[in-house]
Amino acid sequence: MFMRKIYKNKLGLAGFIVILAFAMLALAAPWVSTHDPLKADVMNWKAPPSMDHFFGTDEYGRDIFSRVIHGTRISMYISFLSVLIATFFGVSIGAISGFYGGWIDNIIMRFMDAVMSFPAILLAIGIMAVMGGSIYNVTIALGFVYIPRFARIIRGSALSLRQKEFVEASLALGSSDFTIIFRHILPNCMAPLIVQITLSLAYAILAETGLSFLGLGAPPPAPSWGNILSDARNLMLDAPWMTVFPGIAITMCVLGFNLLGDALRDILDPRLK
């Protein structure tokens, strides 16, 4: 039923296919890429796109096509893992906060407000500056930065759900708090949660690219999309293929997540049925 609905929503389907394609590309990166993404070939530097180098080469003669493909892997890895971290902690915090309410809720949510009051990317830059650049640290930093969004969404739903009669009915049947949260609150928060996850994946990709571009993400020479762009920055007029192709990859990927997220919002929102 769900698949049928997403099939009817053409834009959503397009987004879904794009994401699926990127995900497969990320998994199959070593087999799809034509060259070693790290191997320099100085004789062939700044070569324009050709049959040998589909997307051309950069200033060290590295194959842009292979770098973009491997970049997909890094970007997907960071965005999925960081959103996973944010979801896990955000959902737990939000559910506890919304279910118990009172002073627990107050303390937790004020802390979340404090985190949220920093612009996400700025906070991530700060964390990266302290922890140093590595793929793991980017993942952790982005995961941390996105926790409050999830906490807020789940808390809001939990607050309204705990007033529902079926929660009271379950309490009257002798259920524990744990059962109530896992069986009655969280499953009914799934719709907004799924939408938030999809959209956050897009944000995470942008943020990771941004951090790499600023030199605070995955350390070079790792072929992340931000790093490729960062290297290409000075050669934009000389070798436009160095910016255009990773740029297209980023745009397609983010667009895919956003289209999918919007479609899911329409599909899962009961008010729009």
């Binding site: 009669e165 379950s170 009257a172 002798g174 499953p187």
Partner: protein, 325 residues
């Protein structure tokens, strides 16, 4: 026979920024095994809060059971640790809620939810649990019960859902069933079926029921005893026949007179229905003396100043009124 449930002098207050609402202000009720006690009164008189207090499901804050004693088969519920109280809920005391539409979780099949109720309290195998659930659904007369297990709540009609709720409440054969307006949301023919079903189950399992309602017809038909509540107190309690034939408290009298009686000799619409003067007082600001005195047609001077005592006005017939003191 001994009482299965004994509520003594229960006080449940809600502390809000506007003041303290004395929702339940000295209620005493008792229930024998297999007995149906009707609890009637206007909205906001404390019927539901009394029920929720028995299960200790009053949300704190703002609510609090201030004093009183609730004993189930001799065991004081208000002294029990939370964990033990949880074991009693749904097992020895269960509750049926007013709204069958929203008392089931939309995310699970009814089979799944009924199993939850059963497996929370009993260590039995899943297969055995399925058997008992199906048996119970058959008992509440749900056709092709086995197929229904896989249905979601939105597949069922209101009457069916309320039956599922009753099945859920009776699954563990509780000693006490608190039914909070179980039929209010249903249409009249379904109401009769659901009530019929509840009597059948009380007879089968010897469950005692507190039937909260504002429908006097239901009480007259089903309860053995009736307690009438007003502003957090029981103001009259009597066997059902006595109460309907000779109500003693002016408020009960007013309630009974406000029930429309079809009369063929009376031209329709000529005579307005009787209504009790005035409105229910604000719980934050109860009148002094008898809280009913501003609306009472037979007021005496003392009513304004002093709380009326419980007066024995007949066999097992109690009224809280200065007229009989």
């Amino acid at each position: 026979m001994d009482n299965i449930l004994d509520i003594q002098d229960l006080h449940t207050f809600f502390y809000t920024p506007e003041g303290t609402a004395k929702a339940v202000n000295g209620v005493s009720l008792s229930l024998k095994p297999g007995e149906i006690l009707g609890l009637v009164g206007e909205s906001g008189c404390g019927k539901s809060v009394t029920n929720l207090s028995v299960l200790r499901l009053i949300s704190d804050p703002p609510g609090k059971i201030v004093s009183g004693k609730i004993s189930l088969d001799g065991q004081d519920l208000l002294q029990l640790p939370k964990r033990d109280m949880r074991k009693i809920r749904g097992d020895r005391i269960s509750m049926i809620f007013q709204e069958p539409m929203i008392s089931l979780n939309p995310a699970y099949t009814i089979g799944n939810q009924l199993m939850e109720a059963l497996l929370t309290h009993r260590k039995i195998s899943r297969a055995e649990a399925v058997n008992r659930v199906v048996e119970m659904l058959q008992m509440v007369e749900i056709p092709s019960a086995e197929k229904r297990l896989k249905d979601y709540p939105h597949h069922l009609s209101g009457g069916m859902r309320q039956r599922v709720m009753i099945a859920e409440a009776m699954l563990l054969r509780p000693q006490v069933l608190l039914a909070d307006e179980p039929t209010t949301a249903l249409d009249v023919t379904i109401q009769a079926q659901v009530l019929e079903l509840m009597y059948k189950l009380t007879e089968e399992f010897d469950t005692a029921i507190i039937l909260v309602t504002h429908n006097l017809g239901i009480v007259a038909e089903s309860a053995q005893r009736v307690a009438v509540m007003y502003t957090g107190r029981v103001i009259e309690e009597a066997p059902v026949k006595d109460l309907f034939e000779s109500p003693r408290h002016p408020y009960t009298n007013g309630l009974l007179r406000s029930v429309p009686v079809p009369d063929q000799n009376r031209p329709a619409g000529r005579e307005p229905l009787y209504e009790i003067e005035g409105i229910v007082p604000n719980l934050f600001d109860l009148p002094s003396g008898c809280s009913f005195h501003p609306r009472c047609s037979r007021i005496k001077d003392i009513c304004r100043h002093e709380q009326p005592p419980e007066v024995e006005v007949g066999t097992n017939h109690m009224a809280r009124c200065w007229l009989y003191a």
